[in-house]
């Protein structure tokens, strides 16, 4: 085995297929998207080279910045909700009754497709017959808002659905990480008289810090390029109140037939994600891994 792995030719042979696929399906399109952004192109006819016009125009495009702000809000919200997921996992990882059952409940949303989740929440938020408003009506709250039609509420209504959608995923990650902590450390802490909160805060959390950092990156980058629920539930409406970068890009490219402009939006999105990843890495690097 060692002999095979030291043969350069063999290594190339094994790596090449995946590398080629990644190049063709990911890196080439990224370069192409940047290139299309330099064009005026309706997606059908001839392309006209217009230099950096699209990119410059985007800088003063209010709707684009508004969408970016919404994406940023989503990123902040999902990062904050990570703390909630963590707390739930901490509780589930202690041997409380029914932890197994509860864990499965939290996991179910992960098994549903985005479209199904969107349909489900559309039903919950329905202004007259929806689950939420029916409940509010029965307890005598007659002025219940139309959650998805009110432009000051719509974004947060969808955020809640998104946070629900991803709960299972993050809880699963944290749960697995917490289960990896050696039992002996916890035992020792207990003997020394540590309270459960102290154990969670001073021992468990530091030990899964590495995992936590990774989930921050996942949550922020995932939020910046988020598309599905928003597209299905509101299409970015009413009047752009729930527009995010990805839905704006889609609208420009496929509804308004500004492929060039849409590509430019896509390229900025890539840039934002790269910057965000770099920033988080920079801010969260600590000197060394904590070990006990």
């Amino acid at each position: 085995m060692n002999k095979v792995m030291s043969n350069k030719l063999i290594i190339t042979l094994y790596v090449l297929p995946a590398l080629l696929l990644i190049m063709v399906l990911i890196y080439v399109p990224i370069v192409l998207t940047g290139y299309y952004g330099l064009m005026r192109w309706d997606g059908v006819g001839e392309m006209t080279f217009i230099g950096l016009d699209n990119y410059i125009r985007l800088l003063s495009d209010n709707q684009f910045w508004r969408s970016s702000f919404h994406s940023l809000l989503l990123a902040i919200f999902s990062t904050i909700s990570l703390i909630g997921y963590l707390i739930i996992s901490l509780i589930l990882a202690t041997k409380i009754k029914g932890a197994n059952f509860l864990r499965k409940i939290y996991l179910i949303p992960m098994l549903l497709s985005s479209v199904a989740i969107a349909q489900l929440w559309l039903k919950i938020y329905h202004p007259t017959n929806g689950l939420l408003n029916s409940l509010l009506f029965t307890i005598g709250f007659n002025n219940a808002p139309a959650w998805l039609a009110d432009r000051s509420l719509v974004l947060f209504s969808i955020f809640i659905a998104i946070i629900w959608q991803y709960a299972g995923f993050y809880i699963l990650i944290y749960y697995a990480a917490l289960k990896n902590i050696p039992e002996s450390i916890i035992e020792a802490a207990k003997i020394d008289g540590a309270t459960p909160i102290q154990i969670a805060y001073k021992i468990k959390f530091p030990l899964i810090l590495g995992v936590f950092k990774v989930t921050i990156i996942l949550a922020i980058v995932g939020s910046l390029k988020y598309f599905d629920l928003i597209w299905i539930m509101t299409g970015g409406g009413p009047a752009g109140a729930s527009e995010v970068i990805a839905s704006y890009m889609y609208k420009q490219a496929f509804s308004s037939y500004n492929f060039g402009y849409g590509s430019a939006v896509g390229f900025y999105l890539l840039l934002f994600c790269l910057i965000a990843t770099w920033l988080i890495r920079k801010l969260t690097t600590s000197k060394e891994e904590i070990q006990y």
């Binding site: 063709v24 399906l25 080439v28 399109p29 990224i30 192409l32 998207t33 299309y36 309706d42 997606g43 059908v44 006819g45 001839e46 559309l122 938020y125 329905h126 202004p127 007259t128 017959n129 139309a146 959650w147 998805l148 039609a149 009110d150 432009r151 719509v154 390029k225 598309f227 509101t234 299409g235 409406g237 009413p238 009047a239 752009g240 990805a246 890009m249 889609y250 609208k251 490219a253 496929f254 509804s255 308004s256 037939y257 500004n258 492929f259 849409g262 590509s263 896509g266």
Partner: protein
């Protein structure tokens, strides 16, 4: 091929999802690429349409039967059919067009949608087919919607107008008459509202539905030409009548005329309260007619209780009650690059003729060709609508279809803002004017 692959990849990156599978078949079946225009006995016409057997069973059956008839009448000609769902269709066409791989015959929407294809020289002129006797069969105005610079590039298949459907039982319960003037209409709205019945349901999350309400008010107040002229820039969108129409929309919103949370409801969701007899009125294209006539899935009592009326007159307005908002749905195009163009043109001509004869009786589709109401056996509501069509003084094409794609997007966003009262009527008009001016 490389270019096509790139376009595909572009879509994959932009959307981040797959789902573009069916894009790669036409060149596999073209039998005679590169031969000169001569029509050979053995020819294959590729034809892509958007009526899958599952979701549009009746349409699909008609298409199948027309094709088999044609193949029988023309031995040696094979029609190679590809079916896409409605949602996939537009995107796939865009991708195929960017690599000049359009099918020989396919479907297109009118005006704004087809303009880039025509400008890109991808559709063949169909003037010869129309001059070949087919012309007189079309209802006036329908071919024009598929024409660019007086040349026809598409043959319309459907024609729809948008009346207001109403629930006769609800109207009877509150002693309401079908309104003929706008004041009577407001009175109906108010009575219903006071009695806790939703007067009108509209799914403005898809703002083309709200746009029709605005278009009718613009038509009744400013006359049939005004909106079209404003879009074509021979008149201004800041015309007093167009601003007043916007004011009337907000006035209706203030009266609680529209269903709760209309800006968050899709058209299908908005249809619910009307079908459940919770809302009294619903404006929609005549493609809804089967739900009120022949569709067995809808209870008979409900179907019997639905009628329609024309959008009422506004006192002192320049409009006319026989003017409608509507337009042709899809039409057939023939690809300019098709190696079997002559045969394809022959096929579309045959298709349109047969479609006109069978579509209304078999699928409830109102064709863009004249239907002889004496000869066909149809539910009363169809006969009434067809008569209204025959007597129509004007049909204004849906605003978002008239406009180019990016102005249409602005228009739809503004409609949502107008209904949601996020902007004033003056701003609404001004921002339309700006968007239209920017296109010039």
């Amino acid at each position: 091929m490389i270019k096509k692959l790139f376009s595909l990849i572009l879509v994959l990156t932009l959307v981040g999802l797959g789902g573009c599978g069916p894009a790669d078949d036409p060149d596999a079946t073209d039998p005679t690429p590169g031969t000169d225009g001569e029509v050979v006995d053995e020819s294959t016409i590729s034809f892509t349409h958007l009526w899958p057997a599952g979701s549009s069973a009746q349409h699909n059956r008609i298409v199948e039967s027309i094709i088999s008839e044609y193949e029988e009448a023309n031995p040696g000609v094979t029609i190679d059919v590809d079916v896409l769902s409605n949602d996939q269709y537009k995107e796939t066409m865009t991708i195929l067009a960017s690599s000049r791989q359009l099918p020989d015959v396919g479907l297109t929407w009118a005006a704004g949608y087809m303009t880039p294809f025509v400008n890109g020289n991808m559709f063949a002129s169909l003037d010869d087919v129309i001059e070949d006797g087919l012309g007189e069969e079309f209802i006036p105005g329908t071919v024009e919607a598929f024409s660019v610079n007086e040349t026809a590039y598409g043959l319309p298949l459907e024609l729809n107008i948008a009346p207001i459907y109403y629930n006769k039982n609800i109207f009877a319960e509150y002693d309401l008459e079908v309104p003929e003037t706008y004041d009577e209409f407001l009175n109906v709205v108010q009575t219903l509202e006071e009695n806790g019945v939703t007067p009108i349901t509209v799914g403005n999350r898809e703002p083309w539905t709200g746009s029709m309400w605005y278009m009718y008010l613009a038509d009744r107040i400013g006359g049939p030409e005004l909106l079209t002229n404003a879009i074509e820039r021979t008149d201004t969108f800041e015309d007093e009548a167009l601003v007043q129409a916007a004011e009337e929309i907000q006035n209706l919103v203030d009266m609680n005329a529209f269903v709760r949370g209309f800006n968050g409801l899709g058209n299908e969701e908005a249809k619910g309260p009307f079908m459940n007899e919770q809302a009294a009125m619903y404006m929609m294209g005549t493609w809804e007619l089967p739900n009120y006539t022949t569709n067995e899935d809808v209870p008979q009592e409900f179907r019997d209780s639905i009628g329609f009326f024309k959008f009422p007159m506004v006192e002192g307005g320049a409009g006319d009650i026989d003017s409608f908002v509507g337009g042709p749905g899809v039409g057939l195009f023939v690809s300019e690059d098709s190696p079997v163009q002559e045969q394809a043109k022959d096929f579309v001509q045959f298709f349109v003729e047969r479609w006109g004869e069978t579509s209304v009786t078999d699928a409830g589709v109102i064709p863009a060709t004249v239907v002889n109401t004496d000869e066909v056996d149809l539910p009363d509501m169809y006969i009434d609508i067809l008569d209204e069509l025959a007597g129509a003084s004007n049909i204004t094409l849906y605003a978002d279809v008239q406009m180019t794609a990016s102005v249409a997007q602005t228009h739809l966003d503004l409609i949502q803002s107008l209904f949601g009262k996020h902007i004033t009527p003056e701003e609404f008009a001004k921002r339309h004017e700006e968007a239209l001016a920017a296109e010039e």
